[in-house]
Assembly symmetry: C2
Homo-oligomer: 142 residues x 2
DNA sequence: GCTTGAACCTCTAGCAGCTAGAGGATGTAT
DNA sequence: ATACATCCTCTAGCTGCTAGAGGTTCAAGC
């Protein structure tokens, strides 16, 4: 039986975050001691590791909820899990493409700055005038 | 003189967001009609465009605040603006590196899924066991 | 058995950066 | 004069946590 602190260290998840996952139903209600402290078993350790690892790969909590659900039903076809992963992959690729365009623009800005007064600063100039951009970048956070 | 709706359309910023920017002091208090509706001039249109464009390039609202401040003082040296842009570029590059690692992992997961039952799904298996990952991916959102 | 102190508990509020909706006032065209 | 799109303020919500207040429990040492 593990305390929440031990579970926290083993998974690299903050104590508050574990309680948060419980609150939103991602982690089950754990057993409690007579005094009301949480105690975890290995199944719960595995579950939290799964969640943690999925987060590191960028899955949303909602996606993780689905993945956990699939993981709990070994006889269901795995198309859905596959689809979720593909969706995630697609998102990652979109984000990468976007960042690439941003990098180009930022590099150009920084490169052209000659270090004079702000009045002549290319960085600020480019920000002022979108038409100077060579690439398109229309959505944030994508 | 522009209404908030017109400004919204011209810059591609939602009305609520413009009011939000005003609230946090990123946009100045605009003039008002007798009835209390906001009216904007071209200087404010430029300012919002600047903000919007900076957001598209991924700058935080705090960074934008600094950039706007620099932009308002044409005689100051532009090192600071340059530094902010460099910082942003660095962040973008870090994020790209991270996404690259994630993409590798996701591709592998998806590639190996053979489409059977969830019990044998490689996607779920990899999520269960971090040690199967070839690359490191230790921080989220980086 | 008693004391200490680290670790636990709940609850509330806060972070970025918006977004949505309620409920009502204004502005403009006809 | 009326209709109705657009405006107003205010509050609450989103994701995914994180921090702190104020109080309780557990385990180890004496």
């Amino acid at each position: 039986m593990l305390t929440i602190g031990t579970l926290s260290k083993k998974t690299g998840t903050k104590v508050q975050t574990i309680r948060y996952y419980e609150q939103i139903g991602l982690m089950p209600d754990p057993g409690r001691t007579g005094g009301g402290q949480r105690r975890y078993d290995n199944a719960q350790l595995d579950r939290l590791s799964f969640i943690r690892h999925s987060r590191q790969l960028g899955f949303s909590l909602d996606a993780i909820r689905e993945l956990l659900d699939l993981s709990d039903h070994p006889n269901r076809p795995c198309d859905e899990a596959d689809a979720i992963a593909r969706r995630q992959l697609k998102q990652v690729e979109q984000r990468m493409a976007r960042l690439k365009a941003l990098r180009t623009e930022l590099k150009r800005m920084v490169h052209e700055c000659s270090g004079g007064r702000t009045a002549d600063c290319r960085v600020l100039e480019v920000l002022r005038d979108h038409s100077e951009c060579l690439t398109e970048h229309d959505e944030i956070g994508a």
